[in-house]
Symmetry: C2
């Protein structure tokens, strides 16, 4: 997954800094990656003409513009925003496109993205943790005779116990209804599908029975039901291989972007039906899509694996072939989502989630048949939904905690998922504590004058010429700017603050600059002029936007310090930070620390988990240990309702500054701010 294109090295002069980027990357982004500023307020639309660079060695694709004369073009001038890398090149940033000479390295810190936290299936296998929640077992039973006319069910149970040491229970009429014919179709050679018990002392549960040898055909699905997006993965449970993945917007979006508006709609007559149908229809569509894409491993691969497995004797091998995955070969579904999404999916009343004191119907959910929630899967397919902790710390977070492995680590870890609400979990293998921080939608572009989601044209990266205070906007897809997305907002506020444009309270310092002006909501900085934009106005960031941003980051940081305080610790005790969610993958760590969103730690200690909810979900499919552990994790987790914790308000007030009132918590930032002030 992920397009592994050729990478090339771009060397920037005069600094000599290099950047290693994929073929097709724009020069502007390559410079940004190297921590270098190139003036560019049009965000890569090729409009402002300020991002001219000179290609000195090698060639680039594109980069022509009417703002570059033929003579200059001949000399190697290109627009950095539209010139794409296709080989190793050396590029000079002319002084007019850059910041002043000297001290670049120290003034603009090299931006950090978190390292990816990888969950390794092979490692799981080696550690013996690979035990799918559903297994298939081929069995040869003795044929009934006069002296042995045990019933089919008893014969099967005794066979499974005797041949495979699987003590099973049979709880389903549906299973019994298939049993007689399935056993007789192939002379009492059959394949049983077993749900592996979470509790080691409990019995395996018989889910399905097929005639003949089918035990290499065992597939599972994992889903993350996000408020915005639904992700699915189709997994071969015998090999651990991902056969297909698919995603789509959560169609409930048409009833509002946040959980609250979904709940309000669900409270209307038939509203819950509508919400439930929408999400299951989306899941059914993804299932159809994945089945169309999927192809199990080749026969040869499977045979090798099957031979290693003790569940298939030699003489069964010659029966193998590998047709495409059929819908009724999916035996198990694991699902994670936030508490509201889970309630809507399971058709549970969500109305109390949105009203104080914020009580969900349930935080744990019994396993059920996929059909019970209208998933178009076999009537024997087992389903599991991740338990939640509270109304606002949901199964998606629990899944993320499972994916992060923090619950089994010695290291004191902060797990943080930033979305409309930020959820934090702090702890290690000994204890776990969590809280939901009402961050508001600022990180998703909400409450910000020109805030938008991370769509094409969203300013998602930014730097500032410290001398001219001219901006370098980088937009999603290299399009003319149309607004600011969450990661852009973070880096803009951090950069304006680091360069003294903003003070610690988030107000503009009195600077005389054409881009700084009085707007409708106090002072504002013009990121892009209207004629450089795909908008009918200048794109700005103003003091109210910044205040909203500070509230959001302050709520999160106060959540972290409050939870730590409750357990008698402080931020300096944190040994690791794990970022989950989409925002976590784009976040600039230095900016996050500069503004006081994250505690100041060595960026090497910060890992990015990606979609922890989806990862936790497929881990459940592949490892029954996870199902066992999750019960323990939920039991162990202490949930803090921040508004009920004395002291939270003080923490919140103290966090309403850039980066914080207590600069002692941010020694690195404090030093930079001090240095900037001196200059």
């Amino acid at each position: 997954m992920g397009d592994k294109r050729q990478e090339y090295t771009v060397t920037f002069l005069p600094t000599g800094r290099t950047s290693r980027v994929q073929a097709g990357t724009e020069l502007l982004q390559a410079a940004r990656k190297a921590g270098l500023h190139v003036n560019a307020s049009c965000g890569g639309a090729g409009v402002c003409g300020k991002c001219r660079v000179v290609v000195e060695q090698g060639t680039v694709l594109g980069g022509k513009s009417e703002k570059i004369s033929a003579a200059f073009y001949e000399q190697g001038y290109r627009q950095a925003c539209s010139a794409q890398i296709c080989e190793d090149v050396s590029v000079r940033i002319p002084e007019e496109s850059s910041r002043r000479k000297g001290g670049l390295g120290t003034m603009v810190p090299k931006r950090h993205q978190a390292r990816r936290h990888i969950f390794d299936i092979e490692e799981l296998k080696q550690e013996g943790g690979w035990s799918p929640s559903v297994e298939k077992v081929c069995i040869e039973l003795t044929t009934p005779a006069g002296h042995d006319n045990r019933a089919d069910a008893g014969r099967l149970l005794q066979g499974l116990s005797g041949q495979y040491n699987r003590k099973c229970e049979l709880k389903s009429l549906v299973f019994l209804r298939k049993l007689g014919k399935a056993l007789r179709q192939d002379s009492f050679q059959a394949t049983a599908t077993l749900e592996v018990p979470v509790n080691l002392a409990a019995r395996y549960r018989l889910l399905d029975i097929q005639p003949g040898y089918q035990c290499h055909r065992n597939f599972g699905l994992a889903f993350d039901i996000g408020t915005t997006t639904v992700y699915g993965v189709l997994i071969d449970l015998e090999t651990g291989k991902f056969l297909a993945e698919a995603s789509c917007y959560n169609p409930q979006m048409s009833y509002g972007e946040d959980v609250i508006s979904r709940i309000i709609h669900a409270e209307k007559p038939k509203g819950l039906d509508v919400m439930q149908n929408l999400v299951t229809e989306a899941m059914n569509q993804l299932i159809t899509e994945m089945l169309a894409k999927a192809q199990p491993e080749t026969q040869a691969e499977t045979q090798t694996k099957a031979a290693l497995s003790n569940r298939l004797s030699g003489r069964m091998l010659d029966r193998l072939d590998q047709p495409p995955v059929a819908r009724d070969e999916i035996n198990s579904v694991s699902i994670a989502g936030n508490t509201t999404m889970t309630h809507l999916l399971l058709h549970l009343d969500p109305s109390s989630i949105r009203r104080a004191p914020y009580v969900p119907t349930s935080t744990f959910f019994p396993s059920f048949r996929a059909r019970e929630i209208n998933l178009d899967l076999s009537d024997t397919c087992a389903s599991l939904v991740y338990p939640a902790i509270s109304s606002y710390v949901g199964g998606d977070i629990v899944a993320g905690v499972m994916a992060s492995g923090m619950y089994s680590s010695k290291q004191l870890t902060l797990f943080i998922d930033v979305g409309t609400n930020a959820e934090i979990v702090i702890g290690n293998r000994d204890w776990l504590a969590c809280a939901a921080c009402s961050a508001g939608p600022a990180f998703e572009g909400g409450g910000i004058t020109h805030g938008i989601r991370a769509v094409e044209g969203a300013i998602s990266d930014f730097s500032l010429n410290p001398e001219t205070l001219e901006p370098m906007n980088i937009t999603e897809g290299g399009k003319a700017p149309i607004g600011i997305c969450g990661s852009g907002l973070l880096i803009i506020v951090a950069t304006l603050f680091e360069h003294g444009v903003l003070n610690q309270s988030g107000k503009f310092n009195p600077l005389d600059h054409p881009r700084i002006r009085e707007g409708r909501s106090g002072q504002e900085y013009v990121l892009a002029w209207q004629d450089e934009c795909a908008a009918d106005h200048d794109i700005v960031i103003n003091e109210v936007d910044i205040e909203n941003f500070i509230r959001a980051k302050g709520a999160i940081f106060a959540g972290i310090t409050t939870v730590l305080q409750q357990v008698g610790l402080q931020v300096s005790d944190l040994e690791r930070i794990i970022l989950a969610g989409g925002f976590g993958s784009y976040i600039d760590l230095d900016s996050a620390m500069s503004v006081g969103l994250l505690p100041e730690v060595d960026p090497e200690k910060i890992l990015y988990l990606g979609n922890g909810s989806l990862t936790g979900s497929w881990m459940c499919e592949l490892s029954n240990h996870i199902r066992r552990d999750v019960v323990e994790v939920v039991r162990k987790m202490t949930s803090f309702e921040l508004s009920e914790v004395p002291g939270f308000k003080d923490q919140y007030m103290a966090s309403m500054f850039l980066p914080h009132t207590d600069l002692g918590l941010f020694p690195g930032i404090a030093q930079r701010v001090k240095k900037n002030k001196k200059e």
Copy 2:
């Protein structure tokens, strides 16, 4: 249940024997009950005119006939077959209507019916065995608050654990879907419906939740699904009271009277669907009928009981009222039936049941929701079907064993249910063994020339004038005879044998008698002449009929001796016999011993259980101990496949005589036969 009419005493002269009978009973039956013979071959139709008796004291209703002249009528002559008792009377049996004088008492034994085995609910309560499988619990939960915003489900579970010491589990989405609204409708005062675990260490399972206090409204259903008849009982699980009962023919009857023809039909395309629909439609009809009849106990009764119970506090009482039982207040259904009926009900493939080696799909059946088998009950209603032992020893027999209590008694007991097949269970609290005997349908009138079911006009009782060999037929409903039912057949064969008309091989002795003649199937005895019958032929019993009867009774007796032999015992070790099923209620014990159907024991040791399947079924509703015990009983039961047991064939051959080749097994009969021979 049962019509308790006024009883009167009839004194018969010259013997002075008396009979205590209900008002409306015919004199003929009263005589029969006193062990007296009155010639009557028309069975009570008033046609043959042979049953004239003289009423000497008191009066009777009816008894007129054109065969009795006005003068004789004045003297008190009446037809015994049509004269009904309405007060105490003295009646003389004239010599021409009777047998010869003297020795009556010894020549015609007083017929015995088995005593009724009564299962006492009050006793069950006192012994602490009364614990319905579903209980309702009223609970007051604390209202959520900022400092206590546990989810509804967790709050409920903790409340049930804390307030009632009920450790519960929640396995149903349906339950969760109701929970939020149910709790909030009455300020977190609610009633939970709990399935009581069979295993004491297991958790209670939450089935349903209702707002407010509803814990006195708890109803259950018990069913016996017979091949011929479906019986249902509606029970108030809080008081143990039976609120209604209903029965109907099993509508599968239109596809054949026996299980084999039902299986054959079920094997056809859609055949199983048809069979399943027929029986569940019948059950649904009975449910509707019972709900229409039912009325729970009055408020006063319930309040007393409720106050005794610790599940209802004082202040809840004033809320009580007693509307009729609603369909969705039925929380539990227990069902018993033979293995084929159970398979058809649960939509399980029955095809192997009818083919050697006679393997059912399953002998145990998971509990399920009533809706899963299309019963028109609430979607939370729990259902349980009695486990079977084998294809031909079904859940009806297991239910009977539970109802008989033999599994917890010290006494070595023979349990026997005679129908198309006879099933026997032998054992006590230490061990249990069972077998199915292929008796064939003789006891249901099958394979007998003029055999019929016990409908109106069926000869069901019989005696013989030992001198004239003239018959006294008693028919169902006092109608002109149309055939012979099972209990009639038994008593006819026994009587003919006892009076030397038949020899030990079941052949007619060479007697010169107008009623004994050569027919189409060997020698035959004319029970009633055509002009006395409601048939277009004489009603006879012939040697082929008697051979079929002997085969049937021989199979049963051989089953008993074979099972006893397998465990190293003999018939003389039996301490008690329990008869189940319809046949058991009508069977004449002396006849059954005379022909060698039952072992010869003191008739006082023989009990009649009635519909053991239905009794076992409602015991399951009222006592969870039974559910626990049944698991143990099934585990403990050794099932013998008679055809596989060496020695069974010898036992069978030895039983093919009246009563048996080994007369040492029947000392009383042997003596009577010897005496008859001498005379």
